[in-house]
Every structure is written in structure tokens, then in C-alpha cells.
Amino acid sequence: MTAKYKRIFSAAWIMGSLLGLLLCPGTIRTGHAAFGEDIEKPKPEFSREGDRVTAKYIPRAKSTSVQVHFTVSGGKLVEVRGLEWEIAERPEVDVKNFKSALFTIEIGDVSPGAEAMVTLSSDFFTSSTQFYVFNEKLSSPWMVSECENISLPDRVQDLVIKVIDGGPYDSDGTVNGRIFFVGGPRDSFWAYALGTLFIRFFGIFLVLGILQICMELSGRIFQKMDINNSQKGMRSESEPLEDVSIPQAIGNDDGEQAIDTESVSAAAVALHIHLSRLRAPERLELGTSESTGWIQHGRQMAMGANPSNTRR
């Protein structure tokens, strides 16, 4: 095994260990209570408009409020209330999956034993949102409802659930013309967290990739413009001009090629760097607030004299 592969292997091993430590099942803690407080608890506020009740709240993992509209057909929507999670908390459910609040929906004027259709409508729901029903009278109180998820314009999703008076979804469990329906919309927390993780990480590549392409293109355009400008400048320089100030040059009297002072200073700096094997000082001053064109030019000339370029 070459040194290169050894290094890659050991790096991968260390990174794997770190990841393992992060994801070690023994250290996994789920649930909001890992640190003793539920800081994202939704606090719905309800308002009524005719037969429609609207809940407004900030769901978990959101900074802005959402609205959920409740309507009922086949009965009268009497009231919608919020339900404390602690009441419905069971080991088999994770609060993280319930980004929205839990609701108690009270329906009246139902023909005894008949069914009513409850509709929850919101642009916060997705096509994969399910509705989980809670009925503490059952042996397994949490169950996924047979809910119809309908996509409407403007990204609105309707969750339509059929509830039967006295049926398993009716918390009072009796055929009495009233239905107490408890539950809440459920979205998979880990699916969302992992999905958004990959999308957003590659999103950064995408954004910076687009920026890179634009910079490459604009750079080429600018380089071309600069070349054209310099060619124009050279052309105009070749024409005889009056009152041209000749740069101070160093040369000999034997007619050998003269070198201007700027090139000499740049070459001197380059030689100094090369001969002294200049090492970076502990604190390099990178502030270039005072950099003039002359300094930039000198710097480039100095870097150009670096043997790194000549060896390549």
C-alpha cells in the first residue's frame, strides 16, 4: 500500500469514526424532551368564520406562521381546540413527526351512527402528509387514518378524513350524534431532515457553480476587452507623437537594449525573494487597502519571477 493510499485510508477511518460517534445508536436521543423543554411547541390560535374554523400557529421547525382551515360535511363543526402533546405522548410516536399541533375536533348534529367528512386545508401540508388519530380508549391509541390527500391550486393540500359516530376515530366511543375526533397531521421528520440536507448541500454547489460559470464567462469577456484595448494602445503608441515623455531607462552606451526602471525594480525584488528563500512571516499583512496599481504590478512581476513558474 503506498503512502498516498495509507493516508487516504487513515483519513477515511478517522472521518468514519467521527461520523460513527455522531450517529452511534447508543447516543441517539429523540424527542423534544432531550433537554427537558419543548421550545418549539405550537400554540394555535383559533378563529371562526361561518362553518369554517381556522387555526393559526408557528409549527415546529418553522419561523413563520401557517394557517389550517377546518370544515366538516355531514355534521356541524362545533369547536376545534388544541391538545397538549403530553396527554397523547406514547413511546411509539415521536413529537418531531408532528410539526403541527394536535387538535380536538368536536362535531355535532350528526345522525347517530352516521359518518361525517372532516377536511383540513393548508398550504403547509405536502402530498405525503398523513393524519394520525389518537383515541386513548383503544389498546393502541395512535393510528394512521385513511385520509385522502388532495392537491389543489396554489400548493394547497386538503386532508379529508371520514369519521363515523361511535367508530374508532370517535374518542367518546358512543353512538350519540356527537363526534370527538382527536389527532394531528404527521410528516416524517427524518425524511424531511435528510432530504433537505442533501438538497441544500448540493444547492450550495449549484449556486456557487452558477456563479463560477458566470465569472468564467465575464472574465473571458473582460480579458478580451483588455487585450483589444492594449492592442489599440500599442497601435497608437507606434504612431509618432509629439511631446512624449520618454521613461527613464537604464542602458549602456553601446546600443544594447535598455531596461526601464520598473522592470529593474521588479527583477530586483524577485531576485531578493529567490536568493533569500523568503519564508512567510508569522503574520502576513494581507490588507491591501493601500495597494496601488504599481504595487500590484510589482507583486505580479515578483510572483512571475518565482521559480515555480519556470519549472513547470
Partner: protein, 382 residues
């Protein structure tokens, strides 16, 4: 007045108006932590510009009965609470710092070598891995995002995102970010050496092309337009950053540019440091969360460095002109510390290899990358 009355009065004064009887053990611990950070900043010169005000903020706010971070009877904020409320809570100071940073930044190396933007993106790997890791420890999504961004090694971005998503973690996150940024020369070199061979560290890169003033002038406008179009949530940070850079490059508002780079930057740094330090009161800070944040912050930095170097290795498979993988580590913002580290590691392998300007390029890309990551997180919770 009898002696008993006098004693009662003295007792009342001692209990209600002096700090000594109210000083709790956890406050003493926090005061010592404040002193530790002051020591690190003053004696070891670890990010002194930030750690001196932060350390003093921790120190002063943990004395009992101090009217600094509370509210008066009339509901007005007390001294440092006012700095915090209007500077940090309103998300003003981090953006003003970005203005100053923009005015101080020369984008020349990045414009000359735009390929390195990809390194800046790759170096955000730790941000997302840590985000996932802390979720397993019971952090909420918002908290996880604010802890993850520590690895971006960009102080103002960390503060901006944390103030927005998880203000209760502001102190711990800011302290972790600045502490690890100060420790970049200690954290990065072993990872850099582990992930590269001597041969790779000796790779010499082609000299950067000349960048005209016109290009530098147009970069903040083009860059800002593109980034804000793609991630509107990052407009406050990126807008200020690019505005600062435009002031610098346009050359006609030198006074404004100087003010943004120096006076304004220094003023807001004082208020930011004090405010952040003052959030670290004993009852909030001495819990498991800050300890976990410090642990994950370190992991975050390590993975971000790993991500940057790995990205260069992957890029080198496809590139004709190879990139020295050492500059990948500079993809974690921490300008210019990370670039300096890459440069000095390069010099150890080859004393003639000048990497500093090449490393500045991914370093600047890292600033944009971490701001983009912050924007992604903000957008996620909207």
C-alpha cells in the same frame, strides 16, 4: 431606632443591594470562564478583537444583581440588553460587520480563479454533517442549523443565523465559532498532512491572471445579483458584503470605504462582543447544550477542512492544471487565517511554493459558501 432595627436594615441592604450574598457557585464558574477567555485573548492573542469584549461580557454579566441584561420596571432594556436588542436581535450588527468585511476584501484572487468557488462549496460539508449529527442528540432543526454553521468559520454569519433561528444558543455558538477560528492553525495542519502526500503538497499552481479594476468593480454587482436571485434569504448579509466591496472598488467613496473598514467595523465589534458575551449567563450557559456545541463545533471544523481538501482531490481528477490540495482547507472562511495556514503548510513542503494568493481564493469562496449555507437554512424555516 433600636439595634435590632439597625441590624435588620443592614441585613436588608446586604441582601438586596449588594452582590456578595447573592453570588452563586455557577456565577463564579462563569466569571472564571470569562477570565479564561480574556486570558486567551490577551496573553495568547486568540482572536483578541472579539474575545476581549466577549470575555468581558461574560465576566461582567455574571455578577449578581447587575442591571445589564434585564429590563427596567418600565420595560426598557438595560445597558447591554439594549446593545443586544437593537444590534443582535434586530440582526443589524452582523450585517454591518459584513459591510466592513466587504470593504476590506480584495476579490482579485477569486475573480482570477473562479474554479475555487467549488472548493468553498465543498468545505461546507461539515455544516451539513454536524446539522445531522446534532439532530440525533435531541436538538431541534433550527438549533441544529445554527450549530452546523459554526463549521463555516464565519463569525458574523454564525451570529446572524443563530440570532434568527436559535437565539438561546447565541453565546455558545459565537464563542465556539470564534474560539475554533482562533485555533485554525492548530486544528487544520494535522488534517491537511493526513489527507495529502508530500508530492501533492508540492504542487505548484499557475500564476493568477491579472484582474482589471473594471472586473473588480463589476464583481460585487454581478455576484450579488446572482446570489440574491438564487437565495433571496441571504440578501441582508450578501447585500451588505457586496455593497462594502463596491464602495472599495469604485474608488469614488474612499471616505465611506475607510469608515466601513475601520471606525464602523470597530464600533460594531465592541457592541457585538459585549452583547454576545452577556448572553452567557450562568443559568443559561451551564447546561449540557453548550458543551455539546463545543464538541460538535470541533467536529464541524474538522469535517469542513476534510470537505475542502477532498473537493480539491476530486477536482484534480478532472483538471489539467492541478490544484494544490492544501488550499482546500482554506475553503472554511476564517479569512485570512485559513489561507495563511495553507500557505505555511505549503512552504514546509516546498520553501519556494507561494500559495498565499491561491489560498485566498477558496478562502473568499468560503465566505460566500457559508453565507449561502446560512441562506439555505433561513429559507428552510420560512
Amino acid at each position: 431606632m433600636s439595634w435590632s432595627h439597625m441590624l435588620e436594615l443592614i441585613q436588608n441592604i446586604l441582601i438586596t443591594q449588594t452582590g456578595i450574598p447573592n453570588l452563586a457557585v455557577n456565577q463564579v464558574i462563569m466569571i472564571l470562564i470569562g477570565l479564561l477567555f480574556l486570558y486567551l485573548a490577551i496573553a495568547k492573542e486568540y482572536e483578541p478583537l472579539l474575545l476581549v469584549p466577549i470575555g468581558f461580557g461574560i465576566f461582567i454579566v455574571n455578577f449578581p444583581l447587575t442591571p445589564l441584561m434585564g429590563f427596567t420596571e418600565h420595560g426598557n432594556p438595560e445597558l447591554i440588553r439594549a446593545f443586544y436588542k437593537y444590534g443582535v436581535e434586530w440582526e443589524i450588527i452582523p450585517c454591518v460587520i459584513f459591510l466592513g468585511l466587504g470593504a476590506m476584501t480584495d476579490f482579485g484572487p477569486l475573480i482570477a480563479n473562479p474554479k475555487t468557488l467549488i472548493i468553498g462549496a465543498g468545505a461546507q460539508l461539515g455544516v451539513f454533517v454536524t446539522y445531522l449529527g446534532v439532530l440525533f442528540f435531541g436538538f431541534t432543526l433550527k438549533e441544529a442549523a445554527s450549530v452546523g454553521i459554526i463549521g463555516g468559520a464565519d463569525g458574523p454569519t454564525t451570529i446572524y443565523l443563530t440570532a434568527k433561528l436559535a437565539p438561546h444558543l447565541l453565546g455558545a455558538n459565537a464563542l465556539a465559532a470564534y474560539s475554533y477560528m482562533a485555533m485554525v492553525p492548530l486544528i487544520q495542519p494535522p488534517i491537511m498532512r493526513m489527507m495529502t502526500t508530500l508530492e501533492q503538497r508540492r504542487i505548484r499552481m499557475r500564476q493568477l491572471r491579472y484582474v482589471s479594476q473594471r472586473e473588480k468593480l463589476l464583481f460585487p454587482l454581478i455576484g450579488c445579483a446572482l446570489i440574491v436571485l438564487l437565495i433571496p434569504a441571504v440578501a441582508p448579509l450578501m447585500g451588505m458584503f457586496m455593497f462594502g466591496n463596491l464602495m472599495r472598488e469604485c474608488g469614488v467613496v474612499k471616505r465611506l470605504s475607510d469608515t466601513a473598514q475601520n471606525a464602523l467595523m470597530n464600533i460594531v465589534t465592541i457592541f457585538l462582543g459585549l452583547s454576545v458575551g452577556a448572553t452567557m449567563q450562568a443559568d443559561v450557559f451551564l447546561t449540557w447544550k453548550p458543551l455539546l456545541i463545543f464538541a460538535f463545533g470541533l467536529v464541524d471544523f474538522v469535517i469542513c477542512t476534510f470537505g475542502g481538501i477532498l473537493t480539491v482531490h476530486i477536482m484534480n481528477i478532472f483538471l489539467k492544471d492541478k490544484i494544490n490540495p492544501l488550499i482546500g482547507s482554506a475553503g472554511v472562511s476564517a479569512v485570512p487565517m485559513a489561507a495563511r495556514v495553507a500557505h505555511s503548510e505549503g512552504l514546509k513542503a516546498d520553501p519556494d511554493n507561494w500559495l498565499i494568493m491561491h489560498a485566498m481564493s477558496p478562502n473568499l469562496a468560503g465566505v460566500i459558501g457559508s453565507a449561502a449555507a446560512a441562506g439555505m437554512f433561513i429559507a428552510m424555516f420560512q
